[in-house]
């Protein structure tokens, strides 16, 4: 696979970016963390640790030790695309070496939808963005 050439620029039009399409999961928040370029590094760490905490067994009302987020999930996903990729990689390094957890890294390409708003019409195009996904084993 060769390197794709950059898309031509659209002049005199305002770019409106749209989020990439993804599936809705009700309990996604318990094991998936989305990182964007404006997410502070420490906030992301705290968020991931809160996810990890959800899988640690704690005594319930009957004194039995149960994990809050269940026991079927094997890893926590940390996702980031574009500018946020370096931040995600740093997060991976943090959890691998500081926290001594097993971390897997996957690279991906994600398609996004761009809208160009001009004064008399609007045009659309698809664009590919690189992305990284971490699997932090629980």
């Amino acid at each position: 696979m060769g390197v794709q050439s950059k898309l031509p620029r659209v002049k005199d039009k305002r770019l409106v970016k749209h989020a990439p399409p993804r599936v809705y999961h009700q309990n996604e928040g318990s094991h998936v963390v989305y990182v964007k370029s404006s997410t502070p590094f420490v906030s992301a760490i705290k968020r991931i640790e809160r996810c990890l905490d959800g899988f640690r067994p704690v005594p319930n009302r009957r004194g039995k030790y149960v994990a809050k987020s269940g026991k079927h999930i094997k890893y926590i996903e940390v996702k980031g695309m574009g500018w946020a990729m370096s931040k995600v990689m740093n997060l991976g390094l943090h959890f691998k070496y500081e926290k001594q957890l097993k971390v897997e890294v996957y690279t991906k390409t994600i398609g996004v939808f761009d809208e160009f708003v001009g004064s008399d019409d609007e045009t659309f195009q698809k664009r590919n963005v690189s992305s990284v996904e971490l699997h932090i084993m629980i």
Partner: protein
Amino acid sequence: MPRKPPKLQHNRVNHKREKMFNSRIIRTELNDRSFTNPTIANTSVITFNSMGNKLDAPSFLKSREFEIKSLEKSQLKSKYSSSTRVFQSLPRELRRRTASHNVRRVPKRMRPRALKEMGLSLNTKDKKETKGVSKSGKPLKKVHSRGRELYRLRRKSQLLKYAGKHKLSGHLIDGSPIDIKKLDLRNRLKMIRAQIEKIESDRMKVGKKPNTDVSDDANTLLVKDRRVAKQAVITINNLTGAYDNTSVNESSGIHRISSLKYATRQTKFKWLPTHVWHAKRAKMVKRWGWNLVNQPTMKCFRKTSRSWRVKGCIAWDTSYFNTIILNCASSDLHAFEILKDIYSHLSCGKALKTNYISGYKAWEGFIHINEEPVCVGSLLWIRGELSVRLVVRFHPSVYELVLNSLLEEVRPYDAISLHDCRYSIGSITVAGPKALYALQAIIHCPVKKCPQYQLWKVFSQMNDVNTIPSGSCFSFEIDDPRLWNQHVTPHAFKEANVVLESLCDLQTGNAVNKDVLDKLFSIEGRINCYKNQQSLKQLGKRRTPERSGKPIPRTDADPTIPICIIKHSNGYNILLPWFWVMPVWYQLVHVPHLMIGGMKQMNQFAYEKSQLSFEDLIFTRQGFINGRIKMEQCSHEWNRKPKSKRVQYDALNLGSETGEKLSPFGCDWRSFQVLRYALNKVPKDADNSQVFPSEFDEMLNRVIKNKFDAFEIVKDIKKSDKGLSLLGRSVFEKLPVRLDRENETVVELAKAESYEITSKGLPQLQVRAIAFECCSRGHITDNARIYQIPESQKSYWISFGRKVCKDVRGRNMSTNQLGVPGSEFIVGLSTSATINLVRGCSTGVGFIDASSRLCEYLLVRNVGSDICQVCTWHYIVLR
């Protein structure tokens, strides 16, 4: 099978005591084996085993571990044992206020335990009762009639009075005399009912007659539409009583009395289609001729914030938004041009883009009347083969203004007809990541290969907050959603690539079926969709036990519903015929994780996105009036308090000044306008060091010599305004502020010589919408004042904004010490501000004077406070 013998009562008491005892006890190991004290201590040879008083570390640790665990356990036990009631474990949606004493408010599976907690049991023979509940858990009979029963009794007494009145006068409604002595009350009521029926049937006969009165112009669109609309009101083709209530070229109303019993309902304030459903679950408010949902009964500030952006979704019944449809034949070019002109005027020329004019997308923005923005609304342009339609949806506060202005434009032309669909097209708005999922779960198309529906299905299960562009349109026909027992899981998510392709397809209008739109926006189409609309009873009969869990099979007689789904900035807006709103709503609210919202939630939604809600539109007349009303109410409440209990705004120490210069009860745009223009008149070399006695000209107007005169003149104008309004003259023919949308260009304030500072002589002040965010901690509230940073203190404040200023311990410093700038630095007011759960700090929305030159920071001070907060800010881009 013999029943179990009932337990004795004292057992229950014992059980409770035992439970309490168990929860308080902490188990310990009394015989601790870790301390060994062997008896053979006097032996001559001391070995490790025979050593006295040694500590056995492993068993010591084990023992302590046991004790710590039992301590933790007992903590949990005592926490959960006696202090909790069973309904406390329910999620908040299922909690009821009366669940503590009425077991019927608790889900069935929890009832035995709830009864036990109340000291009752289903099996006991005792006659003990708790408040309002019998021993079997049923509520006791009420002593007084309440709710519906009370309403029924009142109606009865009113009807009796009504009948009594006729008895006295001795004639019926139409004046025909009756011999009342021969009739009893029941017969008299029967006669009244029969008369009403007769009037109705007479009307129907008139409607059915071929129109003889307007035979000459029978071919014009207007006459045809009028006839159809008249016919529609009296046509009932179903058992549910659904009919189309559209008026052609006039304002529509609900005139038809469906039941004599409820004749007095909805006289002044109309109901939403889901009114009865909402009235049980939300706080209602009467506004703009509607009974609207203000907020759900349950507290939901945090939940709303999560629902629209993280998980779940919010649904509103937005049927109160008015729909007006302008029609003309596509062959009539002259009428077409006029319609296009109206379309252009309403959007101020902004909706003339190719995508909107071709009907692929709906336009959303400010609706303009006489080039002035009046409210937020949307426009949909549909050009079919036979007809052209312009659908205008707008806020109910400006209903009369928009309707009259459109009527004025349309009236001279017979080729254009205006349909007021206020009570014939309803809508539901769903917002949040689960919005698409929720809609997909209840919408089923009868034609499986319908291309529009296929495209809609591609986006099933999609988490959509802003993936689908705003303005996108879908339209197709759907089945009655009540044929399905409950919502279904939508189809699996397609590959991301397919979805992206479909998104492009969507933009070229492939999801719009113009025939369906024709059905939805024409009177005949809506009448047809009510044909054979099933009542719940009818549906219940069709639902056989052997098909439980499966949908009721569709028959050819079942109607299809034309719908239009439009993605707006505030979520998915589903337009559908009025009497189909309730069935769809009822299915929709059974989708899990969907919460209902009211107007407050709508405002919060806009605020958290840093957009303007209705409450912020102070540059429109209705928004401005809304602000004035809130101000008066606030001032009234303040005045009602005793002097010792209210904040003394006049005595507030604000550094160089004392007291608030603008009204502390709200955003006082009038005083703000006067202040800005008066300060503009202060000479540059004025002596602002101390207060001098003011001078007056020959007209007894104050001459502005320094800033203190400018502050005084604000009070003068306030008095003069009050005088004018007492004389019965309108003060605000022109609003004090005007929106300036060109955020890039610098606006100069009018030259000091060009205007007089009088109640009528001031030009409008140009304002721009801004959103700001607090740099540090601090809670900014509504009506806060926005200050420009004075040049002399700029470096201090900016260092606070950049968090460079730290105290000895390296923490951010408080801004308490820095004081408050003078009122001459006020550049704006904040319309809504509070803690923003999205940003995690205080943010707000407000308006600033367009002529003010601000650096990257500004200061915000709450009313009645002497602390300023440093904030970053940006302009809000308005469409």
